[in-house]
């Protein structure tokens, strides 16, 4: 379900969050679909379970999925919409920044500056 690159500078929990978002944004996972349990994911892809929990908590916070007692993580009705908002644009912006060598902190600072102006 996920492909992890452990040596990437992107933390593994971020990779899981991003891939989950992508799958929901593109409609591979639809509202009501259940995400595999933390145990299933961590043993399947061989990563630390705390990392998977952290990814799931973040997804929960964004409202893309919701934690249902006794069931697990479920894609919300508005999940697709929420997953789509800004993801592609942000991603291409980040890719551009990486390509031309704008540092992460500089990019964030620039966005913050523009945010005030716009």
């Amino acid at each position: 379900m996920f492909t992890i690159n452990p040596s990437s500078s992107v933390p593994i929990y971020r990779q899981i969050v991003n891939q989950c978002r992508e799958q929901i944004a593109s409609g591979v996972l639809t509202p009501g679909d259940k995400l595999p349990s933390v145990r299933a994911i961590s043993t399947e892809i061989g990563v630390n379970p705390m990392t998977v929990s952290k990814a799931y908590s973040l997804l929960d916070q964004t409202g893309i999925v919701v934690r249902r007692r006794g069931i697990g993580m479920v894609v919300t009705e508005s999940g697709r919409e929420r997953a789509q908002i800004g993801t592609d644009e942000s991603r291409s912006l980040i890719m551009y920044a990486k390509k031309v060598g704008i540092s992460r902190s500089d990019l964030i600072a620039q966005i913050e500056r523009l945010w005030e102006e716009t």
């Binding site: 992107v10 593994i12 933390v38 043993t43 061989g46 990563v47 379970p49």
Partner: protein
């Protein structure tokens, strides 16, 4: 409050005049998976042996689940599993007999199902241990250490001799034990990608001390390499290590840096090389 699985306090030990461990501190919280990294000969095995009470430190103390390692009660010893770097015991015994022999000490606490599954997955033949390849001997050593589902599992380069398939299956088993039993794991390894996958934390041993004990997410999110040209590196808060014009730092945006400083992301391998250079 989190239970502390292992605590090393100001541990020093020397061979002749060489100080291997020099006032070393390390605390492992219950449920963490820690990758112990260090260059060859940095003292990883010594640290592990002191932690287990197999070696007496010249100074300092080692505690496992709150009891001194050197003479811990058997109730606590039963909660520990250990995979040594080289396994040369029971050479005359067949794999099955040896597993049964060790299992007999633990009786009902022995997970025969797990052991049967791993024996099959790892294609371990029931031959005399002395006749097995080093990789298969390492597998036997792992079986003997995990059968009683220890709460603290310490592994000294456990995957160094395993083939990629056995290595994957072994790493999955560690994750399973950690998620099902909140098991605390300390493993020394040189394979940083394995460490990045399954560990929650890393501890880098260098110069007789743990000079970087940090969560892996923090390494990727907050540790940065800062390069400042010039002959003298300025003082920067949160410095972890490094030499010359490149230093590894716990970075925050509030950090005051010289104008010509360059900040870059790092990888675990780079951090390791930078700190232990």
């Amino acid at each position: 409050m989190t239970e502390i699985a292992l605590e090393l306090n100001r541990v020093s030990i020397s061979y002749d005049t060489f100080n291997v461990l020099n006032g070393l501190d390390l605390i492992l919280d219950r449920g963490t998976v820690t990758g112990l990294l260090g260059r060859n000969g940095s003292g990883k095995t010594t640290l592990i042996r002191v932690a287990l009470g197999l070696m007496q430190a010249d100074a300092g103390e080692a505690n496992v689940f709150g009891a001194p390692s050197a003479n811990s009660p058997s109730g606590i010893r039963k909660r520990i599993g250990y995979v040594p770097q080289t396994f040369d015991s029971f050479n005359w015994m067949k794999v099955g007999d040896c597993v049964d022999f060790v299992a007999s000490f633990y009786q009902d606490d022995w997970d025969s199902e797990l052991i049967a599954r791993l024996t099959k997955e790892w294609r371990l033949d029931n031959r005399k241990i002395g006749e097995l390849s080093p990789g298969d001997q390492q597998k036997v050593s792992i079986l003997l250490a995990v059968g009683h589902s220890p709460d603290l599992l310490i592994l000294d380069e456990p995957v160094s001799k395993l083939d990629p398939a056995a290595r994957r299956s072994f790493l999955r088993m560690l994750v399973e034990m950690n998620v099902d039993r909140n098991q605390t794991i300390l493993l020394s390894s040189h394979i940083t990608s394995d460490v990045e996958r399954i560990c929650s934390h890393i501890a880098i041993l260098h110069g007789g001390r743990i000079n970087c004990h940090i969560s892996l997410d923090e390494v990727k999110e907050h540790v940065r390499v800062i390069t400042v040209p010039g002959s003298s590196f300025p003082h920067i808060e949160g410095m972890i290590g490094g030499q010359g014009i490149r230093r590894w730092v716990r970075y925050t945006s509030e950090l005051e840096l010289p104008k010509d400083a360059r900040v870059e992301e790092t990888t675990l391998e780079d951090l390791f090389i930078g700190i232990t250079a």
